[in-house]
Symmetry: C2
Subunit: 325 residues, 2 copies
Amino acid sequence: MHILVTGAAGMIGRKFVERVARQGRLGDQAVAKMTLTDIVTPTAPKAGFSVEARADDIAAPGVLEALVKDRPQLIVHLAAIVSGEAESDFEKGYRVNLDGTRFLLEAVRKLGGGYKPRLVFASSIAVFGAPFAEIIPDEFHLTPLTSYGTQKVIGEMLLADYTRRGFLDGVGLRFPTICVRPGAPNKAASGFFSNIIREPLAGKEVVLPVPESVRHTHASPRAAVSFIMHAATMDTGLIGPRRSLSMPGVCVTVGEQIASLGRIAGEKAVKLIRREPDPVITRIVAGWPERFDPVRATELGFKAEASFDEIVRAHVDDELGGKVA
Amino acid sequence: MHILVTGAAGMIGRKFVERVARQGRLGDQAVAKMTLTDIVTPTAPKAGFSVEARADDIAAPGVLEALVKDRPQLIVHLAAIVSGEAESDFEKGYRVNLDGTRFLLEAVRKLGGGYKPRLVFASSIAVFGAPFAEIIPDEFHLTPLTSYGTQKVIGEMLLADYTRRGFLDGVGLRFPTICVRPGAPNKAASGFFSNIIREPLAGKEVVLPVPESVRHTHASPRAAVSFIMHAATMDTGLIGPRRSLSMPGVCVTVGEQIASLGRIAGEKAVKLIRREPDPVITRIVAGWPERFDPVRATELGFKAEASFDEIVRAHVDDELGGKVA
């Protein structure tokens, strides 16, 4: 099979591509080719199949037509302007997140001739907006409070309609916060959820800007990749017309995150966390959803970690070669 | 004030324009000018202010820029490809309902310089999809099952985001079924709701294709116009970020509709209704929502009729000069 991945230079894209390269297959199908694209050229992994890595602006005319013309059976559409940038650069966010997604669906539709690829679309819990239910059900209404969330709702709506009309076979995944994010600490307001685990595991000090009582839902990068794998291979006949699904995750307080760190890396790691309350970050985080009840995704076979300990261990295994500093 | 109306040749557009022309003002503001546009040239009513009526394709480049360049303080955006046609002509539906709406919002945004018009957007209960709650609350999730409903959700999302960003001051109105629609019987699956009242009132026979137990929610054309008037003049500071509102209506069974007809026009009118069950129409109608609980719209001052008798009387007064055949 031929797989097209947009946003393949991003963290989740890269890990998905690496896992497919390692396996050489997806479900019961051998992979013959992967086409990787991003705004910068993605790294092509070593693989037993052909890999084309290219830099593209998916919102430019003709680009997506060229990318789909060989009729990849699976399209994993991860390319997006992230939340903060979609808020600071209004036009860029709409251009990539709305136009880019619509151009992709249109390129597929216009090919015609029975072409109907599986299309996995990365949505986000940003489709939801406060005030939240204490536990957010699958049927919670869509009231995004950011341009990014608005664009993701629009993507979900288009995906469902193009699927209903028979132009493609779409699955939308509303990712929870991904934790532990590898790499350097970033300045995203949500960065501390990962920083407070990753930095102490590497023997480094880290700042915790919010109270330990803050509650949030997490899935590891490994789980995020497994969501895509499952969405790519599952029986979509079971989904019904509501094609976007809130993914499962592990709901814990920051205090419980720190307790997991202590169990896995000892008290010396926990002591590297310096409490420096930041009222701005605390206020932003207070506007985020805490907990989901992803009944549909769970019934459809999507699995996250069962505990935050598992999330920490996944990071130690996947990023630190199994070793704690 | 200057008012721009798109879709001004449609039934609701025409009635809104006529009411503004009659009043000469909107709320506490005198109207200086109305610009009316539709795909065919709308009829300009007699008015004590300047009326420009023009035919435009709002999805063509530059058209909406030209329409908003004089900075109308109020824009009433009714133009749309209706449900059936958006389903039969996929490209046309997206072109007008999505691109047309987005081009309008973009034309407003790009004018800048403090321009921030009130924008009343005609949405629809088609944003909801089965399975329904018995009574649909304001917080019911958005799961359209038609391309038209999809396009209306996208319009609602854009309206909310452009409002949040301060580019305009949007209010979305989810209209219930409008009854009694004047004019000739049409072939829309929902046509019978109006036909069974309008035709007997004119002394004509009519076919009822569904059982009398079918339940549905209605508002008169007069109420629809009053929703737009209220949305155009209300204090939008009270709405909050969820800018689209399910409008109130009168929830009755077909049997209750017929009882109203009998009270107003007598048994001779009721006898003009011929029962000819149509399984196709009955099945389509079974997939429609029956009843809403429009708490937010009601609290914000939107009012529909209090009974179906009032809806029948509104038709007799507004279309038949107060006379029953």
